[in-house]
C-alpha cells in the first residue's frame, strides 16, 4: 500500500478525516522549509502538500502568489525542492508528501525525469493544476510507472459526464476544489460541499479531500464530518508570511495554527455523534 492509501485508511479506521496541509516549498527560504514541514507534522497534519513555486501561478490567490515570489527570490530550484523532500523522508518515514504545482516546472526536463526524481526523493503524489485529463498522455503514465500517485482535481464545474475522465488515472485521493475560483479567497457553502462530496463518493472509492477557502478550525470540522480529508493552504501560507514579516519563527507559528485545525478535524465526528 502506498503512504497515501495507508494514511487515509488509518484515518478512516480512527473514524476521522485526514488533515492535509499546504505550504509553498522554499518559502521564506529553502533552508527554513524543513522546520516548517516538521511543524506541520508536530501540529497534527496527516498529509503534506508541498507547493512548487512558479512565476505564473494563475490558479492561486494573493497569499500563494506572494509565497511563490518569496520562494523564488530566495533561490528555490526544482533540485532544492527534491532535496527538501529527501531530507523530510529521513525524519518522517510514514508521512505522505504530495507536490502541488503547475505543468511547466514539472515537464521542463521531461515527465520521465520528473517522475523518477519524485520516486527517488520519496514524493508520494503529484497534483498538477494545469494538466487536465485531456493533456495527460505523458505525465500521468510516467508517474504511475514509478508508483507515484497522480491526484486529480474535481471542481464545481466538473459534471457527471466529465467525472469519469477525471477519475481515470487518478490515485491516492481525489481533491475537490470546493469553489470555482482561486486559492484562499472565497469559501464554499457547507451545503454545496456536502452535496458535491456525496456525488463524488458515488463515483469513486478513492478518498475525497476538500480544499480551497478552508481557513478556520470550525470550517475544517464541518467539512471533516462529510469528507475523507480537509485541505488547508492559504491560511497557513499567510501565517508564514506574517511571522517572517514580524521577525518571528515561522515554524512555531505554523505549529500554532495547525494544532487547533488538527484537533477540530479529529474531534469533528465525535462532536457530531455526541
Amino acid at each position: 500500500m502506498s503512504r497515501l492509501e495507508t494514511t487515509f485508511a488509518r484515518c478512516a479506521a480512527e473514524g476521522r478525516a485526514a488533515l492535509v496541509t499546504f505550504v509553498t516549498g522554499g518559502d521564506p527560504s529553502p533552508a527554513a522549509t524543513p522546520a516548517i514541514l516538521d511543524a506541520l507534522v508536530a501540529g497534527g497534519a496527516d498529509v503534506i502538500e508541498l507547493g512548487m513555486p512558479f512565476t505564473d501561478p494563475m490558479a492561486d490567490g494573493p497569499a500563494i502568489q506572494l509565497a511563490d515570489i518569496r520562494s523564488l527570490n530566495a533561490g528555490t530550484t526544482t533540485t532544492s525542492l527534491f532535496e527538501i523532500v529527501r531530507d523530510f523522508r529521513t525524519r518522517h518515514a510514514d508521512v505522505p508528501v504530495v507536490l502541488m504545482g503547475y505543468a511547466n516546472p514539472m515537464v521542463r526536463r521531461g515527465p520521465q525525469w520528473f517522475a523518477e526524481a519524485c520516486a527517488e526523493a520519496g514524493v508520494d503524489g503529484v497534483i498538477c493544476v494545469d494538466i487536465p485529463p485531456e493533456e495527460d498522455a505523458a505525465l500521468g503514465p510516467a508517474l504511475r510507472a514509478v508508483g507515484v500517485d497522480l491526484v486529480r482535481l474535481a471542481t464545481p464545474t466538473t459534471d457527471a459526464a466529465r467525472l469519469p475522465a477525471v477519475l481515470d488515472g487518478c490515485s491516492g485521493f481525489l481533491y475537490y476544489v470546493s469553489v470555482a475560483g482561486i486559492t484562499g479567497v472565497q469559501q464554499a457553502a457547507q451545503g454545496s460541499i456536502e452535496q458535491a462530496v456525496a456525488h463524488l463518493k458515488a463515483g469513486t472509492s478513492l478518498p475525497v479531500a476538500v480544499g480551497f477557502g478552508v481557513r478556520t478550525p470550525d470550517q475544517a470540522a464541518k467539512i471533516a464530518r462529510v469528507a475523507d480529508g480537509v485541505v488547508v493552504g492559504s491560511a497557513i501560507v499567510e501565517v508564514v508570511a506574517a511571522a517572517v514579516a514580524a521577525g518571528h519563527d515561522p515554524a512555531e507559528a505554523v505549529r500554532a495554527i495547525v494544532a487547533p485545525l488538527s484537533a477540530a478535524v479529529r474531534g469533528a465526528r465525535q462532536e457530531q455523534a455526541a
Binding site: F54, D60, P132, T157, T158, V177, V185
Partner: protein, 410 residues
C-alpha cells in the same frame, strides 16, 4: 482517396498543432473551454453568424482595409540598394481599422460568440492597450460590462489607451503582480475567469491560450490574408514573393499568413522583438531564445530558465512584450514553413521614423519591427519582387514612448 498536403488543416481535434497548442487549463475551466469549442463549431455552420460578422466588419470596422503600394518607401530603399534590387513594398493597412489596429477583427468575432453563449460580462488582458481598446469598444457596442486587465508597467507607458478604455466604459484593473506586463495581465484575467465562469466571456487578444482560442483568433484574423490575397491579385496579377509581419503572440501574423500557407511560392517572415539584442536577457524573442513549455493554456515556445520558471520579456513595444508565442507559429517554425527573425528596439525605432517620413504614416511600434525587416529584405530582393507587410496598428499611442527613446521632451 488521397488527402492533399496542406498546412491549413491544423489544429487537430484536440487543439494540437503538431506538439504545440492543447488545453492546459485548470479543471474548473475545462468544461467552459469545451463548451466554447462546441459553440464555435455551431457558429461556423450558421450562415447568420457569418452574415453578422461580415456586416460588422464592413460597416463598423471599415473593412476591407486597403493594400497600399508604398512607392516612396520602395524608392528610398532602392536608392541604397544594388542596381536592379529593391522589392516593391505593399502595406496591408490594418491600422486604418476602427480603433487603429487589427485587434478589432478578433474582438468582433469573439463578442458575437459571447452573445450566442448568453454571457453577460466581458474580460480581457491587454499589453499595449490595443486589444483592451478593441475589447472595450465591442463591449460598448453590444452593451456588456467589461473589465480589462493590464500590467501596471503597461498602464504607465500606454496612458492614452488607458484613458480610451475608460471613455468606452470599461474598468481597467492595473496588475501589480510579477513583471507587471502582458503575461501577468493574462494570469489575472484567468483568475477572474475561473472565479466567474457562469457569466463571463474571456476575449483573448492573441492567437494563443487554450484550444479553441488559437484557432478561432486565427480564423477571425484571417480576413487580413484573404483580403490581401485578392487585392494583390488585382494590383499585380500575381501572389507576393514575401509576407512580413511582427510577432508578439502572433495574431496579426497568422491572420496574414494563414490564407497563403499552401501557396508554395510565397515565403513568409515573422519578426520577433529582439529588444536590446538577442545576446542580452532583454528581449521578447521566444522562438529565437526560448524552448517549448506550457503556459497560459498552451504548449509553445517560451522564454524560461532551466527549472521552467518564466523569464521576463522586454521590448520597447508593449504589444510584443510577452515571453511566449501562439502555438501555430511554434509549429510553423518547427516544420520550417515560415521563417522567423527579429528586430531590436533600435531597428524598430529607425523603421518607425522611416515610414513617417517616406509615406506620411505613423506606424505602431509593433509593425515597426516588421518594417525594419522589410527594409533589410527589400534591399536584397530584386526590383520585380513583391513584399506584402502587415501594418497592423497605428502609432498615435506610441508617440510618448518614441519621444522618450529619441530623447525628445514633449
Amino acid at each position: 482517396m488521397t488527402i492533399a498536403n496542406t498546412f491549413r488543416a491544423q489544429p487537430d481535434a484536440q487543439g494540437h498543432f503538431g506538439q504545440f497548442g492543447g488545453r492546459y487549463v485548470a479543471e474548473t475551466l475545462m468544461p467552459l473551454i469545451l463548451e466554447l469549442e462546441k459553440e464555435y463549431r455551431r457558429a461556423q455552420a450558421d450562415p447568420a453568424f457569418e452574415a453578422e460578422l461580415d456586416w460588422l466588419m464592413k460597416h463598423y470596422v471599415g473593412r476591407p482595409s486597403p493594400l497600399y503600394y508604398a512607392e516612396r518607401l520602395t524608392e528610398t530603399i532602392r536608392a541604397s540598394a544594388e542596381a536592379g534590387h529593391g522589392a516593391k513594398i505593399y502595406l496591408k493597412r490594418d491600422e486604418l481599422n476602427h480603433t487603429g489596429a487589427h485587434k478589432i477583427n478578433n474582438c468582433i468575432g469573439q463578442i458575437l460568440l459571447a452573445v450566442r453563449m448568453g454571457k453577460t460580462r466581458i474580460i480581457a488582458e491587454t499589453g499595449a492597450g490595443q486589444h483592451g481598446v478593441a475589447t472595450a469598444t465591442v463591449a460598448a457596442r453590444f452593451g456588456l460590462p467589461c473589465v480589462i486587465y493590464m500590467g501596471a508597467r503597461d498602464v504607465e507607458r500606454q496612458s492614452p489607451n488607458v484613458f480610451r478604455m475608460k471613455l468606452l466604459g470599461a474598468e481597467v484593473r492595473a496588475v501589480e503582480s510579477g513583471s507587471k506586463t502582458l503575461k501577468d495581465a493574462m494570469n489575472e484575467a484567468l483568475r477572474d475567469w475561473v472565479a466567474n465562469v457562469h457569466d463571463t466571456f474571456y476575449i483573448i487578444g492573441t492567437a494563443a491560450g487554450p484550444h479553441p482560442y488559437p484557432e478561432l483568433v486565427r480564423d477571425f484574423q484571417s480576413v487580413i490574408g484573404r483580403e490581401a490575397k485578392a487585392q494583390i491579385m488585382e494590383a499585380e496579377g500575381r501572389l507576393p514573393d514575401l509576407l512580413v509581419a511582427a510577432i508578439g503572440g502572433g495574431s496579426n501574423a497568422i491572420g496574414l499568413f494563414h490564407p497563403f500557407l499552401d501557396d508554395a511560392d510565397v515565403k513568409m517572415l515573422g519578426i520577433e522583438a529582439a529588444g536590446h539584442g538577442l545576446s542580452t536577457d532583454k528581449h521578447a524573442a521566444s522562438l529565437a531564445g526560448g524552448e517549448p513549455g506550457v503556459l497560459h493554456g498552451n504548449r509553445t515556445f517560451l522564454l524560461q530558465d532551466e527549472d521552467g520558471q518564466i523569464a521576463e520579456a522586454h521590448s520597447i513595444s508593449a504589444g510584443l512584450d510577452y515571453p511566449g508565442i501562439g502555438p501555430e507559429h511554434s509549429w510553423l517554425h518547427e516544420i520550417g514553413r515560415v521563417q522567423y527573425e527579429s528586430a531590436t528596439d533600435r531597428e524598430a525605432l529607425d523603421a518607425f521614423q522611416l515610414l513617417c517620413r517616406t509615406e506620411g504614416i505613423i506606424p505602431a511600434l509593433e509593425p515597426s519591427h516588421a518594417l525594419a525587416a522589410v527594409a533589410r529584405k527589400a534591399r536584397e530582393m530584386k526590383a520585380d519582387e513583391i513584399i506584402v507587410a502587415n501594418l497592423c496598428g497605428r502609432g498615435d499611442k506610441d508617440i510618448f514612448t518614441v519621444a522618450e527613446a529619441l530623447g525628445v521632451a514633449i
